[in-house]
Symmetry: C2
Subunit: 388 residues, 2 copies
């Protein structure tokens, strides 16, 4: 960029001189010295043409670069222990296809001039309806064999926000979060109350059986088995040290999320999750907490997090990222790295996606992998799963 | 302070002159002019003694002032439409006595060398057990005639945090929040799951009837009546504009909270509330949301908020205050004013208490009043209710 600017500037200076004294040959001025130099017309023309070509090429490159960094939608399908060695080509394709489909659904909204909220909701619908991800249809089971889901959405334009926690009958929790934001004066609703509200707001209510998938059920059985072994071990070693609701770190990932920037410059963020396999005690993670797992502010950035929720709540990660940009002047990339480092330093893991008001994005994570995808203003899609 | 410094400086100058030319009388120099004046020994001695006394008195006052600004505990009993004209002397005394009792309970912990967490919990216990405040015993009723309480606590030393939402059988929700923090690996628990956990953690469980108070019950009946009138009016005017769960702004205040700084320099914050009278749909306010209504960080400040919770969640008020101190270099007073202004600009109201790592405090609010109290390191108590 800097090289292109300098080159373009040199060209302008030379062209200006040419116009002023066309018949006296061309007078050039080196930007590195104050000494004037006289160049003969033909040589000058060659030099000029060369410089012009150089400038054009570099400007084109810079423009292309600029376009490439203008993202309009970034999504994630959860961070965790995602290793290539454990993946089959078919499974990898299924994830990639699903992420692509979600990006396309969201992008269609942006392209049609709809809001970033519409894009976020559309992208998350695709992920919620796909059993591969721990949200909506693919939600994991709680200790009691239920599917309790959380979701949140935030509008960067006016800081409006909505969220639901512990819902069991709403097909698309992200839409329930949006209804709370748009059709109530509240921000957060939980449990049966949130479900009652969603029904009154006209959302699709399903039998809890809808959320049953064999894979997640097996996941719970495995977790219960490990819990029982762990409980026996804890019992024999040091019972007083045993904490209620101990987390098996392998079971806490899989949240989905999206951040978008629409044609009017409005940012939005959304997150949806089935929480942790085998979760107990009505535990609420970071996803439905505005400022922790989800945040959007047109002045700075839109963020959706995934990972070990407790660390994201304690670090107020999403708002901290925004505050680092607003008050400390960090870029989205620097701020993203900084907050993930804080989570890591405390012993937590996971990642996040962030899209700033200028279309710059960051997708930092400290886990083995994170299902993630981006789409540029021109519709260029990129999907990644593992560490770079 | 400035006056004391100037006076002390004058004294030093004069004493220096005395020592240099002791036998030639005393040469003094007025700070307001460069003209030298000669004073006779006896007169000089009198002037000097007077100045010395003046300096000592002012230095003592300044030192006392310095000590007075070292706060160790700040509490609030809720912000709202609290007007002197609506208060009886007996009611005012009851509130003042309760706040004093809470400050003394928390101060006793600090004085005994216990942690700021102990002080916060002890102070909030007093307020939760007093029916005057909308927390614990005095919790307001939901639309369905239940008492659903929320609470959160945070340890500034390690950013550990715990919170409960929508609990109906735990006598002291602040202790349940602390148990979540200390006896589980979770941060937030809601509903029956949180109650089950509290019971397993050995907390005092009561029959929901314990939370019945005649005044709060009457408050609900009044709210239901107004709701019904409002609903009819809305129906006749513009039904499509009617939002589900519309807030009557008079019914949303009364949260209690405490922030403390212990002898080891550790900050802690806690908040406990019965939420809004006539609340529906399992609404969760800002009190149990880490970063919104409650936050503590030894690097900056401890905060507890009270007011129209939705605005506090959307502005991530407590963490924003901390971030303004950490990243923008604002004082606790400046940061407090700034975040309350943001809430006000969006149409929200309420207040907060904040205590920084150096013992400076702020208690900004934009409502008519806020029950609030402070206690200094030396045990000096101050209670306020209305605007200054």
């Amino acid at each position: 960029m800097l090289a292109a600017t300098v080159c373009a500037k040199e060209l302008t200076i030379k062209l200006t001189f040419m116009r002023i004294i066309p018949n006296r040959g061309v007078v050039g001025s080196s930007p590195c010295s104050s000494k004037k130099i006289i160049i003969k017309p033909l040589a000058a023309l060659i030099v000029l043409l060369f410089l012009q070509l150089c400038a054009l090429a570099q400007l084109k490159e810079a423009a292309a670069e600029n376009q490439a960094t203008k993202y309009v939608l970034v999504i994630h399908g959860g961070a965790g222990t995602i290793l290539k060695k454990n993946m089959t080509p078919a499974k990898e394709k299924a994830y990639t296809d699903a992420l692509k489909q979600a990006l396309q659904a969201g992008y269609a909204k942006i392209k049609a001039g709809n809001s970033s909220l519409d894009a976020v909701e559309a992208a998350i619908h695709v992920l919620e309806d796909n059993p591969l991800f721990n949200a909506g249809k693919g939600a994991v089971f709680t200790h009691d064999g239920r599917n309790e889901m959380d979701a949140a959405i935030m509008d960067g334009k006016n800081l409006a926000a909505g969220s639901v926690a512990g819902v069991t009958t709403i097909r698309n929790p992200i839409s329930a979060a949006r209804a709370v934001m748009e059709k109530s004066e509240h921000v957060m609703m939980a449990g049966p109350g949130a479900e009652k509200f969603a029904k009154q707001a006209g959302l699709t209510i399903v039998d809890p059986k809808y959320f049953y998938t064999e894979e997640r059920w097996k996941g719970l059985q495995q977790a219960l088995k490990e819990d029982s072994i762990k409980s026996k071990l804890d019992h024999s070693s040091n019972q007083s040290q045993q904490k209620l609701g101990t987390i098996n770190t392998d079971y806490k990932f899989g949240t989905v999320g999206a951040v978008a920037l629409d044609n009017n410059g409005n940012l939005a963020a959304g997150t949806s999750t089935g929480g942790m396999t085998n979760k107990k005690y009505g535990r609420i993670g970071d996803a439905p907490i505005i400022g922790a797992g989800t945040y959007a502010n047109n002045n700075t950035v839109a963020i959706s997090c995934t990972g070990w929720g407790e660390f994201y709540i304690r670090n107020v990660v999403a708002h901290d990222l925004s505050a680092l940009m607003a008050y400390a002047g960090l870029s989205v990339e620097e701020a993203g790295k900084s907050v993930i480092k804080k989570v890591g330093d405390m012993g937590g893991d996971g990642g996040l996606i962030a899209l700033d008001k200028n279309g710059n994005m960051a997708m930092p994570f400290n886990s083995e992998g994170m299902y993630r995808g981006t789409i540029t203003k021109e519709g260029k899609i990129e999907i990644r799963i593992y560490k770079d």
